[in-house]
Symmetry: C2
Subunit: 457 residues, 2 copies
Amino acid sequence: MTLAERLAAELGADAVIVDPDVTSSYRHDMMPLAPYGSPQAVVLPSNTAQVQAVVRICAELGVPIVPRGAGSGLSGAANAIDGCVMLVTSRMKEILEIDADNRLAVVQPGVVNLDFRNAVEKHGLFYPPDPSSYDWCTIGGNISTNAGGLCCVKYGVTTDSVLGLEVVLADGEVLKTGRRTVKGVAGYDLTKLFIGSEGTLGVVTEITVALRPLPQAPGTTIASFSTIEAAGDAVTRIVREGLVPSLMEIMDASSISAAEEYLKTELGTGKGCAALLLCQSDAGGEAARHELEVIEQVCRSAGADLAYTTHDPAEGQMLLQARRVVLTALEVYGTWLTDDLCVPRTRIAELLTGCERISQECGLRIAVVGHAGDGNMHPTIVYDASSEDEFARARKAFDDILEVVLSLGGTITGEHGVGRIKQDWLQREIGPVGIRVHRAIKNALDPENLFNPGSMF
Amino acid sequence: MTLAERLAAELGADAVIVDPDVTSSYRHDMMPLAPYGSPQAVVLPSNTAQVQAVVRICAELGVPIVPRGAGSGLSGAANAIDGCVMLVTSRMKEILEIDADNRLAVVQPGVVNLDFRNAVEKHGLFYPPDPSSYDWCTIGGNISTNAGGLCCVKYGVTTDSVLGLEVVLADGEVLKTGRRTVKGVAGYDLTKLFIGSEGTLGVVTEITVALRPLPQAPGTTIASFSTIEAAGDAVTRIVREGLVPSLMEIMDASSISAAEEYLKTELGTGKGCAALLLCQSDAGGEAARHELEVIEQVCRSAGADLAYTTHDPAEGQMLLQARRVVLTALEVYGTWLTDDLCVPRTRIAELLTGCERISQECGLRIAVVGHAGDGNMHPTIVYDASSEDEFARARKAFDDILEVVLSLGGTITGEHGVGRIKQDWLQREIGPVGIRVHRAIKNALDPENLFNPGSMF
């Protein structure tokens, strides 16, 4: 039997795709820089036993497996390797349990983030991780990349919401990690080792997450600054003031003008606006009022030209839309290539200045939006995809930005991951000892290099 | 040269102890059940380079190393093995950096938890993890066990506050994990793999922690219940109500009477009190008032005989003292043996009932105190240490409690660790695949089994 026949015998013919016209749509994620190959098959298992079967067959035949969720990734970590089997979790999309009294839920990896958020909201509960692609990315993909989002400044990233995992290992065995309790230290923290491992250590087949009480509808403060330094200073002062807003986003001049153009609105900022800061508080009632009052004051004293607060959720949503549309708005000017990095919160202004310089050097538009509350920035380079020269310049700008990041004491990826675009940078950031430890762990769990070989390191 | 001479040549003679009268005081931690041997030497390195020297010498000679902080552990994880070198971090007690603007600090492992809390408090900052031994345990020990405390219901455990580590590996090389930024996904989450690994994977020599804004002085609510079920119900309702108190502790009748006797006070509970619930809110102002009002109401509607709230911090401290003195208070009746486990929050009453049954069966006093907000309970068995029979019954009760815990969907350790007392239970909880993965990782990082062999698994 061929590989495809063996897979079909275990999973059913409809769960195995070999038609290149179809499999080609599974070749890559949303990162244009990352290389990708052509899979020999795409499999769509429905349960853990089927995942085990796929792993065992591929292990026996020495065929690499690339696990994939929705394909919304931005580092090529779920890109096909020539001749691989793409293991796509989209059919494993059941919410298996919502235990409201213990504030936890158990889900399969293919559940879409937004569907899950909506489901727990009906129980008055909240699943914080909210990557920008939350209306189509999957929880499994979020686990794989340790996804973040806009919530992180107050609620942390994916790993902070996960209690336990079920994982199919390279030998086809099922490993259960973690627990259903709030605390637990029985053995190594394997849960958090698998989270963010980008599909290189196993296939996650079930996820137990901790939920939070649903927060109050947020109030929103928007502030505009005529210099980047003043905006950076406002961020530092807000942190220093001991405030923990539920959202704190920054947009530079390029992002603002793109969003204004796209929304056909003025955002009320006028000319000469170098940066916008958007903050929310979901503390509710007096606490939220107080928090945003202080934020508004701090922004003013840091030199904001305009600072405005609303407690009307609809108006807040509208203000936030400017932030949310930036990537789409940039498409008017060309193809976008978004970078992902994190700097200490006090160094945000220096990063933005660095991006301005790089933009001038490469002659391309670079718009910076980011999660100012945790220093996680997304400089986005716009280029003409039909021009090899522009692509090369964009590629160089992408690297130049990371150079600045390391000089500021930052990290080369805050939430998108290493994947197939930052392996060299990972090596630079963590050094030879770090890489050796990575290889040792990979080798301990996946000695035949079955899962996602060549990704990350 | 002998081992001790070689160590002395590297560290200086005053940093190497071989006198058995002195080394004997380093043989074990605070857990009476755990076996321990006699070290051939105790070393007190002052910096990372000295730790590297110790590791290289011991690796060359095949002498096991047991890393140790203050010795406040409760699982024997830092107990000596015959002929080992105890690597004690007490001289590495510098706070290397407090970066208030980025809310982070860098410390050496020997810093005492309370000293560090006090140091950051001066900057208006807060380091949450607060194990009961916080006035003498060290941050390094907290990392090793992933320590918890009373803060966890709102602020999480040690791993939730750590950004990065410096670790000396079994080959003497220095590994840097993590980062100084809030977010970061560059590679596997090695930081969290080392946290809670109980000294089996390396020696932690530097720790970068995330800090929080100093919370408000807490308000306190105390409620007494005439049945355990009513107290358990109150916990479930508080969680279900969407409240996140900054502390939520439970005491059973045995704990209450011991504390009352010790403090020569009545706690105002009267006779027939089966359980006390203590809650705090550090949200400040109106928010705290509202939170504790709701908690008080919920307690009453769950059947509390008495519920009382104070916003006077001194009075709150006094009420909390009843909880804090329990272990000391129990010493009047004999030696205590405290267990550590975690159950889903809805199962706390069943656990307490189980402990009552076991107490009757073994004929020994079992007092239960615990962190009700996260289901992390500490049933404490009191026995006569001079009676072999009583010790044997205490030992059996210790295991019987864990049996109940697993039947309730709990975990065998919430914050004290596995160490040298729960290896069999770890095996039961995580199964053969889990153990195999542990061994594979241990073998990948410490192939000669140099660090703390025989502990955990």
